[in-house]
């Protein structure tokens, strides 16, 4: 806020602005505008996941047995641990933002690095789940049950990977030189994305693994 540049030129007597001067664009209220844009984006993307969950529900309703008797059932423990990992990562991100705002860049950078590492842990544990199920004979072309499992979890993991790249980049910058106002703004927006991905995971754990 209050980012209107002081170098802006004043209007000439005839009301038009003098040309040829470089005036940086720093719109006031930019943060709130970006926040709104992110909310619209996440709301929109939530509809994509809603479509996937809807498909899962309909396919499952049409299936005589879920899982089919000759296919392995999904593990509960590791994905459950992953719920905790995701929630811890989100918590670390909240702390990082709070410490940044409170003028404590060092612990904030550490928390950010922690959130990134937890995100990487999530992907690692999820890979273990995929590999063990693959070895147990669960393949994407084995009918609707593995179709749903692989499509939903892999699509979600891709979103985690995108967020992870962004968090790693921000954590690197925070550790190296600290985050200025633009970096803080980026972190706030990526934080919203991260919470969204986390919420989708909790829903996915309950819907795909538990129920």
């Amino acid at each position: 806020m209050g980012a209107v540049s002081s170098t802006a030129a004043s209007p000439s007597p005839d009301g038009s602005l003098p040309r040829g001067r470089v005036i940086p664009l720093r719109r006031p209220g930019e943060a709130a505008t970006a926040w709104l844009g992110m909310v619209v984006f996440l709301g929109s993307w939530a509809m994509m996941f809603a479509g996937l969950f809807f498909s899962y529900g309909l396919v499952r309703l049409r299936s005589p047995a879920w899982p089919p008797l000759d296919q392995p059932s999904l593990p509960l423990l590791l994905p459950g641990v992953n719920v905790a990992v995701v929630l811890l990562s989100e918590g670390a991100l909240v702390l990082a933002l709070r410490w940044l705002r409170g003028g404590k860049p060092r612990p904030a950078a550490a928390a950010l690095a922690g959130a990134t590492l937890l995100g990487a842990t999530f992907l690692a544990l999820q890979s273990v789940v995929w590999v063990s199920l693959w070895d147990a004979g669960l393949r994407p072309d084995g009918g609707p049950y593995p179709s749903v499992f692989y499509a939903l979890t892999v699509f979600h993991a891709l979103h985690v990977a995108v967020g992870l790249v962004a968090l790693a980049w921000l954590a690197g910058r925070a550790l190296a030189s600290g985050l200025g106002p633009p970096g803080r703004q980026a972190l706030r927006l990526w934080g919203m994305y991260w919470h969204f991905v986390g919420a989708v995971w909790v829903a996915m754990y309950l819907a795909v693994y538990v129920v």
């Binding site: 209107v4 540049s5 802006a8 030129a9 004043s10 209007p11 009301g15 038009s16 602005l17 470089v22 005036i23 940086p24 664009l25 720093r26 719109r27 006031p28 209220g29 930019e30 709130a32 505008t33 970006a34 709104l36 844009g37 619209v40 984006f41 709301g43 929109s44 993307w45 509809m47 994509m48 996941f49 809603a50 479509g51 996937l52 809807f54 498909s55 309909l58 396919v59 049409r62 299936s63 005589p64 089919p68 296919q71 393949r139 994407p140 072309d141 084995g142 009918g143 609707p144 049950y145 593995p146 179709s147 749903v148 692989y150 499509a151 699509f155």
Partner: protein, 598 residues
């Protein structure tokens, strides 16, 4: 919290971002909403020509089956002796629909007008996220490239109908990379639409000029904003359908594969129809709401009267937006849906006609006793009203279950949705194009050629799609390679031929526009001036033609609604029948309420 525009009002000086200087930043990877709008226009019009050419091939097949296609046959169908074969025919009608809807009308109606008009009409310097805007266009260009690529691969492009229903759209029905590429193009264009929608929704909420309240927004902006909301909510659902279809095609998953091709029971083809139409019905309104908005403004401008019951039209459009999300089941009456559910969908479907009628009646009351100026945009606006009226009324038949059982999958359906989505969307887009062309390129399109274009279009659309309604009513099924293999259709041969001839005339008439477009953009037409139509909205009253890079030197302060036309007191004070939205007229008594306050 103050909006940025209100903060701007309080600070003394208004910052301007400098225009780019390099060629690439200026013309290719531009973040300027006006450049992006023109990019969408070129991309859309180019594919409109492709889609139109495909339509001519379909019409040839229906009018003159098993006969060599003149001109195009040797160029595109040389391998088949210039004839359209059944498999090729299937690809032609599939790609005609897909290209027209996703890669021609959508970029022109939403990409062009949304980008060009939203910042200019609400009094902003650019979109809320200019870079995202640029990504949106280039993502769209990628999706078009995928469509072009699909024509070049083995087995050719997609052939499962524009809806890409499985099981026909799975590897079982349509093998080959073409269908996969087209479904991928759908996903990518969906991503582009979502990016655009985020921008539009946010920009209208956050960047309106001071005084530009919701009830002072031009109706065009209302149409585009509601469209953007529908896009943001429902395009991702199509994304999920396309994603699952891609997985089914490429990774052997079984979401939509059923029957003998499936293992362990398989998935459910009807699931795809649900996902597709949850998106697909709002999409119908995505393609008409911008046209409605444009019509609302243009009819008022050229009738020289304020729009009749502006608030009524706004709320009717909001109501249509909400209802459009609750009717998709009427596309699936024939899928064995429970009768109770079907009746609920029928009820909501028929309910939509109430707010739609409010919009249409307001148009009629707007032009009633107006001092109408029959310019090309006005003619197109009146034409849009007519074709939309026919399209809307034939929709009532299809929304009714008992009628739909008979008319389902006949040419009647084709005629109906061509009147609404093709004729009305196209003519609405042309209304906007003829109207805003002076603002976009600084020069007006030629009126005489424009009127030639109009008469070819209105007569062509009415006869061609009217012919489809009639043969459909008589029982001709849609999508048939040779409809006359059925004895009872053979009597319709003459009607189909006449319809085809009118379709060729319609297509030929479009070249009046092509010629006009190139003549005006690259020729030596006179500059149009800032406000050639003598109208009231900010892009005409407060920005040059074409607008400067930063649109407005000083962000205007809006004082009144968008249609201050024919105000007698304004005429006495100013000597003209229009008052700009941000024009200060101190002596003018604005409204009885304002006068009472004074």
């Amino acid at each position: 919290m103050a909006t940025p525009a209100q903060v701007l009002e309080q600070v003394e000086t208004q910052p301007i971002h400098p225009p780019p200087t390099s060629f690439w930043r200026k013309h290719v990877f531009s973040t300027d909403h006006k450049v992006i709008a023109r990019q969408f226009l070129w991309a859309g019009l180019l594919f409109l020509l492709v889609g139109g050419t495909l339509a001519m091939l379909i019409r040839w097949q229906w009018g003159f089956p098993y006969r060599k296609v003149p001109i195009l046959g040797d160029v595109f169908l040389g391998a088949n002796g210039g004839l359209i074969g059944p498999a090729t025919y299937q690809k032609i009608f599939t790609m005609h629909g897909l290209i027209m809807i996703f890669f021609a009308v959508t970029p022109v109606l939403i990409g062009t007008f949304g980008n060009f008009l939203i910042p200019l009409m609400i009094g902003a310097r650019d979109m809320a996220f200019p870079k995202l805007n640029m990504y949106s266009f280039w993502t769209f260009a990628l999706s078009q490239a995928l469509v072009v690529a699909s024509f070049l691969v083995d087995l050719g492009t997609a052939g499962a109908g524009w809806t890409s229903y499985p099981p026909l759209a799975t590897n079982v029905g349509t093998p080959g990379a073409g269908q996969t590429l087209v479904v991928a193009a759908l996903f990518v264009t969906g991503v582009s639409s979502t990016m655009g929608a985020i921008n539009y929704v946010t920009t209208v909420i956050r960047l309106r000029a001071p005084g530009m309240t919701w009830m002072r927004l031009p109706l065009t902006i209302w149409g585009l904003w509601l469209t953007a909301i529908l896009n943001a909510l429902f395009v991702p659902v199509l994304g999920s359908a396309a994603l699952l279809l891609l997985l089914d095609r490429s990774f052997g998953t079984q979401f939509f594969v059923a029957g003998a091709a499936a293992v362990r029971g398989g998935g459910d083809p009807i699931l795809y129809q649900h996902l597709f139409w949850i998106f697909g019905h709002p999409e119908v309104y995505i393609m008409i709401l911008p046209a409605w908005g444009i019509l609302g403004d243009v009819l008022a401008f050229f009738a020289r009267k304020p729009h009749h019951w502006y608030r009524g039209s706004v709320w009717a459009m909001v109501a249509v937006t909400v209802l459009s999300a609750m009717v998709y089941g009427h596309h699936m009456f024939m899928t064995g849906m429970s009768p109770l559910l079907g009746e609920a969908f029928m009820l909501f479907t028929l309910t939509i006609s109430v707010p739609s009628m409010v919009v249409v009646l307001n148009w009629l009351f707007t032009i009633w006793k107006g001092s109408i100026r029959f310019t090309t945009p006005m003619l197109f606006a009146l034409g849009t009203m007519f074709v939309f009226g026919v399209g809307g009324l034939t929709g009532l038949f299809l929304g009714d279950i008992s009628m739909d059982l008979y008319l389902h999958d006949t040419m009647f359906v084709v005629g109906h949705f061509h009147f609404t989505m093709a004729a009305a969307s196209f003519m609405g887009a042309m209304t906007g194009l003829y109207f805003w062309f002076p603002k976009m390129y600084g020069r007006a399109l030629d009126e005489r050629l424009g009127k030639v274009h109009f008469w070819f279009s209105i007569v062509g659309f009415t006869v061609v799609f009217g012919g489809q309604l009639i043969v459909g009513w008589a029982g001709q099924q849609r999508r048939l390679f040779d409809p006359f293999q059925y004895t009872f259709i053979q009597g319709l041969r003459g009607l189909n031929q006449w319809t085809s001839l009118f379709a060729f005339a319609l297509f030929a008439g479009q070249f009046a526009f092509v010629w006009n477009f190139f003549k005006t953009v690259f020729g030596k037409a006179e500059p149009a001036g800032q406000n050639p139509w003598e109208v009231t909205t900010l892009e005409w009253t407060d920005a040059t033609s074409p607008p400067a890079f930063h649109n407005f030197d000083v962000i205007p302060v809006v004082l009144r609604g968008p249609h201050e036309l024919g105000n007698p007191e304004g005429k006495r004070l100013l000597g003209r029948d229009w008052i700009g939205q941000a024009e200060k007229v101190p002596a003018l008594r604005e409204t009885p309420a304002a006068a009472a306050k004074a």
